[in-house]
């Protein structure tokens, strides 16, 4: 009796390979096409899909036997220019139900470098659709990937794996949402036009913020950053005048003193009593006097506060990994008999 076909996985990820190697293995358009040509030309391989992100390069395949995995690894080495001997120890091979288990975990963000990140599901979907369009996949992988998307969605809905932001800037944006709701009509003042200031602007803009003003000790830098953000530029000397008209202040200068004082904040709040003020101090030494938090309806968060929230969120996500993995195991075990039957029909 002939052996049934096998479900294969061959991959390199952040768990096994350093960044320099992962860079070389990245499958851009040309490399992906070259690898696909080799895989299609191999008579043992019937179906396949390629997943390439900054953290992983993976081949999912249906082949006549598990031995085809070695050939797939060889093709990957060829198109990436890596020596097969170098790639060997970094490559992980899996077969059958372990492949489903792995793919479910990857799509759900359980295997990501930043646990619970949501982008990976979109990347897996893109990889599958690219394979589907080019007829690389067949009934087995189509079924496995469809179940993968359902499982990933189920895990995100039924666990806290994706909850809470884990970067300082996005934590600040989340908090702003809890103070103001929508950020579209919120006026944001970013003090400091350095790298942190620009990242903060991007984070707020990604949540719909439009009214952005940039202040910097060097007006030309403020104007440059404001032009990038589509906002306005002001000089630092204008801070006391502008403060009453803004809702959020995110400050990240390298000044050795606090340039936003408690008195300035108190004055600003007297002129805008109907709305809260959110102060985000991203600088060290601090840009905002801690006493500003004493003013009514002012919420002041500094670097330590934001870092603690990010750490708490990450810890909460990690605590959910076990729940996510249980769901993955249950669902992959439930799916495997159907896939096994399909693999038998393949011959």
């Amino acid at each position: 009796m002939e052996n049934p076909a096998a479900l294969l996985f061959v991959g390199v990820s952040h768990h096994t390979a350093p960044l320099a190697v992962r860079e070389r293995l990245t499958l851009d358009g040309d490399r992906a096409a070259q690898l696909a040509d080799r895989l299609r030309a191999d008579p043992a391989i019937r179906e396949f899909a390629l997943l390439s992100t900054c953290n992983r390069t993976e081949i999912y395949a249906v082949a006549a036997s598990p031995a085809a995995g070695v050939a797939a690894q060889q093709y990957l080495a060829e198109v990436s220019g890596c020596a097969p001997d170098d790639l060997g120890p970094l490559t992980v091979h899996r077969n059958d139900v372990a492949v489903i288990d792995h793919l479910f975990g990857v799509a759900a963000g359980l295997d990501s470098q930043i646990v619970g990140e949501a982008e990976i599901l979109g990347q897996v979907k893109e990889a599958y659709h690219a394979a589907l369009e080019r007829n690389w996949t067949g009934p087995v992988l189509n079924r496995v990937f469809q179940k993968t998307f359902q499982t990933a969605k189920h895990i995100r809905t039924h666990t806290a794996l994706g909850e809470g932001q884990i970067s300082i800037a996005t934590v600040a944006v989340d908090l702003a949402g809890k103070i103001f709701g929508s950020l579209e009509e919120i006026s944001i003042l970013v003090v400091g036009a350095g790298d942190i200031g620009l990242k903060t602007i991007q984070a707020f803009q990604s949540r719909g913020a439009r009214k952005i003003t940039v202040a910097s000790r060097t007006l030309s830098k403020a104007e440059e950053a404001a032009a990038q953000a589509g906002g306005w530029a002001v000089s630092m000397s204008e801070l006391p005048e502008i403060l009453p008209s803004v809702d959020i202040v995110a400050s990240s200068t390298s000044a050795p003193y606090a340039h936003i004082t408690q008195n300035m904040v108190a004055y600003a709040m007297r002129r805008r009593p109907q709305r809260p003020l959110f102060l985000v101090d991203l600088a060290l030494p601090r840009d905002i006097e801690p006493g500003a938090a004493e003013v009514a309806d002012v919420y002041l968060y500094n670097l330590d506060d934001l870092a603690r929230i990010a750490e708490d969120n990450l810890a909460r996500r990690k605590a959910e990994v076990a729940r996510g993995q249980t769901i993955v195991s249950q669902r992959s075990v439930a799916l495997w008999p159907q896939v096994e039957r399909q693999l038998g029909d393949k011959l």
Binding site: A160, L175, I179, F180, P273, R275, D297, Y299, I309
Partner: protein, 295 residues
């Protein structure tokens, strides 16, 4: 349909050990409390999901139907609005808050309002049921045949329902502001709306409540002027005081002199005082007509 609900009340009445109207009101209270308990459980286990929200709304809708059926039986027995004693007034306040939640709540789209409304209505309804003294003089017809006085009373009590909901959103505002200020970002924090949204909702609810109470006071005043001895002084004083304090609060809020956390505190404290004021208001009312049996 209503007959079926009333039939359920008859079954629950257990051979007249509990009057059917009270049995239905008990069922309403238990559904509210069940919704509250289930909502809390879902919140602590996973967070507010679409499924838990649907379950909560179904339980609250069932509670509302049972409560409405119980109040309907009482109203039918006296041929008017069931507002004869403290028990009925408190039941009506709980009912109106729940009606408002279903009618107005979706427009506000505030998460957790259903859970808070369930706890609030469930507690009010249960407390009124477990204190027998509040239901003394049941079945008394207090409005005579004057629909205007009945409208006055119904609007006044309904405005208390609005103020009740306002006290809930004020409580949510205070919780959220406290969480933000003390950087306690666990528990309910991520499920509560933003402080600015809650402040805007509070203002809208206050405007609605003051509007209803103003109409009620105007209708009552028009009839009182025709017969100055028809209402006791304590009732007039307390009613006007409640109306005036809420009106002043609204004016201060519109002038932006009372905002945010202080505004929420005032709304919360005022509602507690308004609830307490129901006692003297109720005690100083003159029953009109003869007692009517509800069984």
């Amino acid at each position: 349909m209503l007959a079926r609900w009333l039939g359920a009340g008859q079954i629950c009445a257990m051979n007249n050990l509990v009057p059917p109207d009270r049995a239905l009101l008990w069922l309403g209270a238990l559904f509210y409390l069940g919704g509250f308990a289930g909502g809390c459980l879902a919140l602590f286990r996973r967070g507010e999901t679409d499924n838990s929200r649907v379950t909560l709304n179904l339980l609250l809708a069932a509670g509302l139907v049972f409560q409405m059926a119980g109040l309907y039986l009482r109203g039918r027995a006296v041929g008017g609005c069931p507002l004869a004693n403290k028990f009925e007034i408190v039941q009506f306040v709980a009912w109106s808050a729940m009606v408002l939640y279903f009618v107005v709540g979706p427009a506000f789209r505030i998460s957790l309002l259903g859970l808070f409304a369930a706890g609030y209505a469930g507690c009010l309804a249960t407390i009124s049921l477990v204190i027998p003294a509040w239901d003394a003089g049941r079945g008394v017809r207090i409005f005579g045949n004057n629909p205007w006085i009945e409208l006055h009373a119904a609007l006044a009590v309904f405005s208390y329902g609005v103020f009740g909901l306002l006290s809930l959103t004020s409580l949510m505002h205070l919780l959220q502001a406290w969480n933000l200020r003390h950087k306690r970002l666990d528990g309910l924090f991520w499920f509560l709306p933003s402080v600015v949204q809650l402040d805007q909702i509070n203002l809208r609810l206050l405007m609605a409540g003051v509007g209803l109470l103003t109409i009620s006071v105007a209708v009552g005043a028009a009839w009182w002027l025709r017969d100055l001895h028809s209402v006791d002084l304590p009732k007039i004083a307390v009613t006007l005081a409640v109306w005036l304090v809420y009106l002043v609060t609204l004016v201060l809020r519109l002038q932006r002199r009372l905002v945010s956390v202080r505004f929420a505190w005032v709304c919360l404290v005022l509602f507690v005082l308004a609830l307490v004021s129901l006692g003297p208001v109720n005690d100083s009312r003159h029953p009109a007509g003869t007692p009517a049996a509800t069984r």
